[in-house]
Symmetry: C2
Subunit: 295 residues, 2 copies
């Protein structure tokens, strides 16, 4: 079997096309969705993420409100900027780029974001609502993963899903989305991690394997059954002299070998990555609609 590639790039482009139309129809009603992007310091990776997010906003017509702050900004000043954005009616989403400098309490900052503008879905009240099945912003990476699976035509209901990795931004929220009694859920979910006795014993039985370990080639062909759906969340840099940058990106899955066994697989790059930003745009448009009582 040779796996069909689920192109996150293509899917993201399709969804962004749909969102662009939605934004146009909102603008016709006098509403421009607005996203405040807050970046503290000059970490190159964070700068690059923020640029990508702002570019994506521009493409579909979301107003992006750019806030670049020095790395030595006080927690108090950061919190007062968030307070300002919380009460600004032109802003429907607030994104605080992580990580924050060490002198700032990250949990406190995330708690300060108005949950109704928490388009990252990281505020505990949104995480809690997700768990108990209330309407909430879904965190972007897990939401992107679920959309990729669904739009590839793979059935979630009754599927055995094994997630490898229990981070707050991928593994744990994804498990909670997939176990819900909902159209994005109804799967039987297992979460494996560093303390799991024998990860392959679980993955080999899975209809869908989600690799979010942060380790290259940590999901290998002998760990997945024939015909499995394999989602690769990893983004790892490996040295590569043939590239201008001196490295290339690979995922957590041994792509070549696994793609000969799986039925569907996501590539890296061009898989989960582009979907993450897209779901941020989706949440921002959704928030603008909710704020204006539009369904």
């Amino acid at each position: 079997m040779t796996a069909e590639i689920i192109s996150g790039k293509q899917l993201a482009s399709d969804i962004r096309g749909e969102l662009k139309q939605e934004v146009e129809s909102l603008k016709a009603k006098g509403i421009t969705p607005g996203l405040a992007v807050i970046l503290v310091g000059e970490d190159p990776a964070s700068q690059s993420y923020v640029r990508a997010k702002e570019k994506a906003c521009a493409e579909i017509g979301i107003y992006s409100d750019d806030n670049k702050l020095p790395s030595d900004i006080s927690e108090e000043k950061l919190l007062s900027l968030i307070e300002e954005k919380n009460s600004d009616p032109s802003i429907h989403g607030i994104l605080v780029q992580l990580p924050l400098p060490k002198h700032i309490d990250e949990a406190k900052v995330l708690l300060a974001v108005n949950p109704d503008k928490d388009v990252d879905g990281f505020h505990p009240v949104n995480v809690g609502k997700l768990v108990v099945g209330q309407k909430a912003f879904l965190p972007c990476t897990p939401h992107g993963i679920v959309q990729m699976i669904k739009r590839a035509g793979v059935k979630l209901e009754g599927a055995n899903v094994v997630i490898v990795g229990r981070s707050n931004i991928v593994g744990k929220p994804l498990a909670n989305i997939l176990m819900q009694k909902s159209e994005l859920g109804n799967a039987t979910v297992t979460v494996c991690h560093t303390r799991t006795k024998d990860i392959s014993k679980h993955t080999i039985e899975a209809d869908i394997v989600v690799a979010a370990t942060g380790l290259p080639n940590s999901v290998t062909a002998d760990m997945v059954k024939d015909g499995a759906v394999v989602i690769d969340v990893g983004v790892n840099r490996v040295p590569d002299d043939t590239k201008k940058k001196g490295y290339r990106l690979i995922g957590d899955v041994d792509f070549d070998a696994v793609s000969r066994k799986a039925s569907f697989i996501t590539p890296v790059p061009g898989g989960v990555g582009p979907m993450t930003i897209t779901m941020l745009l989706y949440n921002t448009v959704d928030s603008a609609k909710t704020a204006n009582n539009i369904k």
Copy 2:
């Protein structure tokens, strides 16, 4: 193999003894932990639960503030009572007995409880904090289950735990506690439910099975492996003419057969039930300590 019985009754009594001493030492500092119990209407089961909770408070010296409201009370009045308890410094925990009458929005009421007094652990912000690994009140039934497993000397780290049932008060929060990187977690957790293709395929591999289906005898001996630890969360009434009340209580597990295969098993009654109220007392004492900066 004949399973060792984990007596929730005995364990609850031990923990209540510990809590009673803590309350005494708090009282010596001039602090009396207070729990506001709010009961709307006259549902006999709810009345009986509330009585049991108030009796348990009295036993260990917690002040219980009794609020019985008519079933036709308006949502507004209920919310204003909660507001009053939220700001009353003599109250450290607020318990709203569920279910509420249909004209009242349950989710809205639970959201109105100050998260710092949400000793039931049902407020989304507490659920969310639990998921992301921040300090939060743990919901009472799952917390009681974890304590039973730990105090029986069963190792959670690396254990394969299969939870059958995905309710908001048991299955989902328990899964989230057990998958944390913490001393109450580090287990590999699978959540099964009505849409799971073959529940026994999962349970037969489990080191620990938690039955929370709400259906008598839904976990049978052929579904568990030799030496498994079996926790029975069910409370089901079955007609029994030999009893004064005309019924007896049984769990979700086929106790007789499963207890011949398991290494540990919890009985019904006298298992998870007494632990649930005990963890409510625990959370109330904990809240009183936190409110007074006592560790």
